[in-house]
């Protein structure tokens, strides 16, 4: 179980958030809310790259 905790699926969640944020910006012109989701997703993708 500790293996699971040490390797969290940041990549999957990051891609989900980036594309959801991009969608809200493209479709609804929600720049701030969409931007927050994109930045959150990008941070998760960065965490994924830092994992062993």
């Amino acid at each position: 179980m500790s293996d699971v905790r040490s390797r969290l699926p940041y990549g999957v969640l990051g891609v989900f958030l980036v594309l959801l944020g991009a969608g809200t910006m493209l479709d609804g012109d929600w720049r701030i809310r969409g931007g927050i989701l994109v930045i959150g997703g990008a941070a998760m993708l960065a965490l994924e790259r830092r994992q062993p």
């Binding site: 699971v4 594309l19 969608g23 493209l26």
Partner: protein, 241 residues
């Protein structure tokens, strides 16, 4: 309003994902997989299951049950229907693909947790049907008043018939899981066309591109899903002798 630069960024992001993740799977995959086992092929299905495996472990470790994931899948499908009805094509497509991911996730969780059984299978099937109905209702609302509504209705009917033929066959004791356009293929076709159509619309500043690609995908689903249902029906008739 069109956002060509944002769309270009998203297209680049998706392009990197596809080239890094999916192209090697398709290149090394089984070109010999028969079409009757689904247009996506076994290689892509296996890759996808392997990719979400850490999420399965994490959720089980956190004490989340497969039923809870099914409930989130249903909520996400409802949200997807609402976004389509509102004309948010890119978001609708992405939520559809995400709901499809949760559909695979709950099944994997149930199997890994030894909770897979008739109850789980029944709940999963009911949730899947309501989820699909929510998506098709949203699409019907989006295209009401025009001919694409007929494509939505035919696609919805075909999708339900694909599931019904299998369920009825299994009720009669006949295994029938083949068919070129099963649920994952429907999700990928409609969701992918929605996302790429919306991107094309923003890149070219031609809003017609989004509904055009989506309607094309719906027509394809309408035709292929009904062919799949007939294909399954003929297989069952043959097996029943």
């Amino acid at each position: 309003m069109c956002h060509p630069w944002l769309a270009a960024g998203v297209a680049g992001f998706l392009g990197v994902l596809i080239v890094r993740e999916i192209v090697p799977v398709v290149r090394n995959g089984e070109g010999d997989t028969p079409l009757e086992h689904g247009l996506l092929g076994q290689g892509l299905r296996r890759w996808f299951r392997a990719r979400i495996e850490p999420l399965v472990d994490l959720l089980l470790d956190a004490g989340v049950r497969a039923d809870a994931v099914s409930a989130v899948q249903l909520a996400m499908s409802g949200l997807c229907g609402l976004t389509y009805a509102r004309g948010w094509v890119f978001t609708g497509g992405w939520l559809l693909l995400s709901a499809g991911t949760l559909d695979v996730l709950d099944g994997s969780m149930a199997r890994k947790h030894d909770a897979a059984g008739p109850r789980g299978a029944f709940v999963d099937s009911v949730v899947d049907r309501y989820g699909e109905a929510a998506v098709f209702l949203g699409l019907a609302a989006r295209f009401r008043g025009g001919w694409p509504l007929w494509a939505v209705l035919a696609a919805a009917f075909g999708a339900f018939m694909v599931s019904y033929t299998r369920a009825r066959a299994e009720g009669l004791g006949v295994e029938c899981s083949e068919g070129m356009l099963q649920r994952p293929e429907r999700y990928v076709l409609i969701g992918g066309a929605s996302m790429f159509g919306a991107l094309a619309a923003h890149l070219t500043c031609m809003p017609i591109a989004a509904p055009a690609l989506l309607v094309g995908a719906l027509v394809a689903v309408a035709v292929l899903a009904n062919i799949t249902a007939v294909q399954r029906a003929l297989t069952v008739v043959r097996r029943l002798g």
